[in-house]
């Protein structure tokens, strides 16, 4: 990303004392956009997945991009804490829940219909505050050395059984996991979801930081199954073709087979709304969609761009019957519920 502003900051550092600093500091200049000002993106998607995409956008648009990487849920909470006083232009998130949570706090600008039109309605916010950019399925990744596909249950609820004690790994603070728990709440209610979380906790799972770490834990033999998104496997496999891990899809309609989207929304706080719009158009355009199809092994959402043929077709994966737009409303209380079950902390 742009290097010179960072170096400039470092040079400024010697000159600025903290005492003086509390008194001064410039507001972003009003008026037309400063073309040298970077487009600030809060990215809940990992650098090794989308760093290249940002670079392509910088090259084609000439707009410098500054990215703050983190987990989607973490960045959604940060945006909430900032309450519109920060300086981010865009929120590029890993799941619909964290996008919705930010949108529900009134921090996002509405997108015009023509911009979101290429994306099917079920993959975007009904109020057009965010739009899906790629699709992904929740799966159960498993260790092919110790398990066969036939050994695995067809429902996520079966993993609460004591026979899975000490064999499961997942990332409880990860936004995609939280979105799946939100979907479970919408599908079967809070009481049953709490029961499932408690039973999973009793199974002494290995708690990891994120999806990649979860797959690594399976590959190392630390756990046998991991609750993850489908595409991380392909990224690791590109580096290590003999990775002893495979994806298992749960039965249609099961909360564990949620089809979610990664997506983007424009933030009111940003100083570069025009540049932000160009980035949204880039993501839902052919170049962005091809990137998701070929580089990250996700499902492109625009008709005409085909996913990788090794992937199970999106039409065959039937998630629970919940609206992605409803996940955002549930996210804050879902995070609380996971934390209270002893899994979040």
């Amino acid at each position: 990303m742009s290097r010179s502003p960072r170096l400039a900051m470092l040079f400024a550092l010697a000159a600025i004392g903290a005492l003086a600093a509390l008194g001064c500091g410039g507001e972003p200049a009003p008026g037309p956009e400063d073309p040298r000002a970077p487009l600030v993106v809060y990215s809940g998607r990992a650098e090794n997945l989308v760093g290249e995409l940002f670079e392509r956008f910088e090259r084609t648009s000439g707009i410098p991009v500054e990215v703050r990487y983190g987990d989607s849920a973490e960045l959604a909470a940060t945006l909430g804490e900032e309450g519109g006083r920060g300086r981010a232009d865009l929120f590029f998130a890993q799941d619909a829940g964290s996008l919705g949570a930010v949108a529900n706090q009134g921090l996002m600008r509405e997108l015009p219909e023509p911009v979101v039109a290429p994306i099917p309605e079920r993959f975007r916010d009904p109020e057009r505050r965010w739009v899906g950019t790629s699709g992904r399925a929740r799966v159960v990744a498993y260790d092919t050395r110790r398990l066969k596909a036939g050994d695995l249950p067809q429902s996520i609820f079966d993993f609460a059984r004591p026979e899975w004690r000490g064999r499961i790994g997942f990332a409880p603070t990860n936004a995609s996991f939280q979105a799946f728990v939100s979907a479970m709440r919408l599908e079967v209610g809070d009481e049953r979801t709490r029961g499932w979380l408690a039973a999973i906790d009793a199974n002494q799972p290995t708690l990891l930081e994120n999806n990649i770490q979860t797959l690594e834990a399976i590959a190392r033999g630390e756990v046998e199954v991991g609750l993850v998104n489908h595409y991380y496997l392909y990224e690791l496999r590109a580096e290590r073709p003999n990775l002893p891990v495979e994806n298992h899809f749960l039965r249609p309609g099961d909360p564990g087979s949620l089809v979610n989207v990664a997506g983007v929304g424009e933030l009111r706080s940003g100083a570069r709304p025009v540049a932000a719009r160009r980035f949204v158009e880039f993501l839902v355009g052919v170049e962005g969609q091809r990137y998701f199809a070929t580089d990250t092994e996700e499902y492109p959402l625009v008709r005409g761009v085909r996913p990788d043929e090794d992937l199970r077709p999106l039409e065959e994966i039937q998630g629970p019957d919940v609206s992605l737009g409803a996940l955002g409303e549930k996210l804050p209380s879902t995070a609380q519920m996971i934390s209270e079950a002893g899994l979040g902390s």
Binding site: M1, S2, R3, R6, M9, L10, A12, L13, A14, I16, G17, A18, L19, A21, L22, G25, G26, E27, V40, Y42, A46, E47, N48, E66, V67, Y69, G70, D71, A73, A76, A77, G80, E81, R85, G86, R87, A88, T173, Q178, L207, L208, E209, N210, I212, Q213, E216, A217, A219, R220, G221, E222, P332, A335, Q336, I338, S339, E340, G342, G344, S345
Partner: protein, 539 residues
Amino acid sequence: MSAGGRLPLSLAVPAIATAALVTLPLAYLVVRALGGGPEAWAVLARPGTAAVLGRTILLVASVALVATAVGVAMAFLVTRTDLPGRRWWTVAAALPLVVPSYVAALALIAAFGPGSPLAGAVDSLPGVEGAPDVFGYPGALLALTASTYPYVFLLTAAALRRVDPAVEEAARSLGRSAFDTFRSVTLPLVRPSVLAGALLAALYTLSDFGVVSLMRHDVLTRVIFTQYRTLFDRTPAAVLGLVLVALTVLILVLEARARGGARPAGPPSGRPATIHALGRWRLPALAFCAVVVGLGLVAPVVVLVGWAAFGGARVDGAALLEPAVTSLGLGLGAAVLAVLAALPLALLAVRSPRGLTRALERVAYTGNALPGVVVALGLVFFAVRYAVPLYQTVPLLVFAYLVRFLPQALGGAHSALLSVGSRLEEAARGLGRGPAGAFAAVSLPLLLPGLAASAALVFLSTVKELPATLLLRPTGLDTLATEVWTETSTAAYAEAAIPALALIVLCAPVILALLGAPERRLEPGRPGAAPARRLVEQA
């Protein structure tokens, strides 16, 4: 500048401003926690919280205990026995200080973690049901002990050298055995130093974030960070932050009680102490030293070099240069700023001692009781509401370093001023120089070595700092420490080895310069002794 005179305004204004500013994060954290509803405080009543507290206390207590046992044993061996290569061991035992604790943890995971060659070898042994789990309590205990025992070692070794041999000889002549003499005569004399070392180990462990996160051990710092990251209501994180501050204060109080009225041993005696012959204990003693130094220093470096060289990591020198320059810049900036901020406070406290100036200096030590994650939380909450232009900027990040590490600069500036005195400066003023001119021309050159040592301490702490850097850094700014963190969060341990080694390379020369040649520097009373002692006393 006599004690009763008026306070010089040019010193009082910056001193008061600094003291006020460094209390800001704590003050705002209290405001935030009190402003939260009963739901936020309900976090205290959760059963999980009690378990977290229990784990925190257990880890702090056991690291302090083991580090003290190891540190005292090493100090006794190098000062009181005929251990072969004593001088060499004196240097080697302090050297694990160059390995940041989370780098030691990273090396442990790389060596013993699941999927590592060692774990594989253990697994393949017949009749062994898997290698023991390095994650959790055992790993955290090992990594933190290896990182903190040098504090106990350095302080205890220096104190042992100060003990007057005549006291021990008198005890022996009255028929006490060598062991009995050590237990009942020597140990009580060095107890304040041992306790000070144990205190440092305990406080270090309590505020540590990197090791417990890598080891996935849920103690307070990690839980605060997780709550902050994932919960939309961040008040519970503030409440837990205050619990962490309370624990810190509790430890400080306990240490003060245990120390009681004991004073450090007096000036060094000119005579060397009795040297005990190790006899048949020579080999076990050597093995003990080798294991300690091996775990704390050799193993981490070897493992990291191994991972970097053979772990399939892509070594990209250019990609490493930027975070290295950033770390260097932040470290230098924080060091200079901390010394500049410390000088007025120390000058007032030393040269115009009275209630107000002493209170100001004490307030400036607040940072000692504030773990990085707490400082960061307070500043995020504050900046986003009242100082938005500073939010996620380098000045605010450097200010966080100032809050945390000002005590290190203050301790150095204070003792340097005490040793220099003000007579020469008064003479210069009598010859017609103004106050500033006299200070710059006469005292400053004499103070410089002491101030440089203080700056070096702040530099070291800053480049290793993790939690405040993670939460406060500007978007897109990476340091060596955050690079290590980022790579480990995707389990890319081989990739993490490279910035970790770079961090050691950055820290090592500074620490070596501070430690100096042990025989010369650790000898108290000699001019060079101050920096080494300060390194541990203020760390």
